[in-house]
Symmetry: C2
Subunit: 170 residues, 2 copies
């Protein structure tokens, strides 16, 4: 698999976020744009993921969350996430990201409290899961850049069409 | 050295370019913005380059161009470039990039003839060299995305202050 240096990615991502802040002048709008960009990226990345990970079909949402955390993050960002905080129904969980390559060397000024700097990742997960027929909500609920003690993304399954499962190309 | 998957970088870069096109609606302005963003990135990357490459001080511009092509591109983008087309004075040369990870799976529509899609790279080189006291011009003169037969960046040394050489931290 082709790789590149993480720092040029981190800095390029930083440029993009700065550009969006300059464009929209509204933190909520920037969060939305990042999510939207991530969504398109996720729709593309899922193909590489399925091809390269040679992963078995996901049994359910619980299984999908584990694969994102352990295989997906490793494949694309070279880090892993922990999956915690399941609700009783198995439809909600949190991904805890200890290391976030997007945010290396980043500090946010006070006026950017509310910026979901790494919101692209939520979009990526949403876009990728939609391609395998799981509709999810994904939101950063804790972010080290905002002074929190961890990076936590909350994942919530809205619907999944098991009748169109397995993946399209199988 | 930390690495990440090249595809997520390529797609993120693509999102950024699309955003700039939507913002500026003018290809020349997009080229300028990409160069400007690259410039800041280059100013940051030079530190990692000097630290990690453990490269000897560059004797002159010729040497610097070779290091960019063979060590820099390898370190950050995991590709190398060929250095060709030197002028007699040794102040101008071309970098030929066979593989351009920024432009993988990219096709430009006709109305974007004139877009220097990978212009970020020119900015990076300009920014990095300025930090070691070489002022250069760097421009894409051929681009496979524009139908050319190669990716060629033309480098031109404008001034270099040998008196402030070697690198600051030596």
């Amino acid at each position: 698999m082709e790789t590149i240096n993480a720092e040029i990615f981190t800095l390029t991502y930083g440029s993009m976020v700065r550009q969006l802040i300059a464009d929209y002048e509204d933190v909520e709008e920037v969060n939305k744009q990042l999510d939207k960009m991530g969504y398109s990226i996720g729709q593309r990345l899922i193909d590489e993921f399925l091809a390269k990970s040679k992963t078995q079909r996901c049994a359910d949402f619980r299984d999908a969350a584990e694969k994102i955390a352990k295989v997906g993050f490793r494949m694309f960002l070279n880090v892993t996430a922990a999956v915690t905080g399941w609700n009783a129904e198995g439809t909600e969980c949190s991904l805890i990201l200890e290391d976030n390559p997007l945010a290396d060397f980043v500090e946010l000024p006070e006026q950017l409290a509310g910026l979901k700097y790494s919101n692209l990742l939520c979009g990526v997960i949403r876009g990728a899961l939609e391609m395998v027929n799981m509709e999810v909500e994904c939101t950063f609920v804790r972010d080290v850049l905002q002074g929190d003690d961890a990076n936590e993304m909350r994942l919530k399954l809205l619907s999944s069409s098991t009748e169109t499962y397995p993946f399209k190309d199988e």
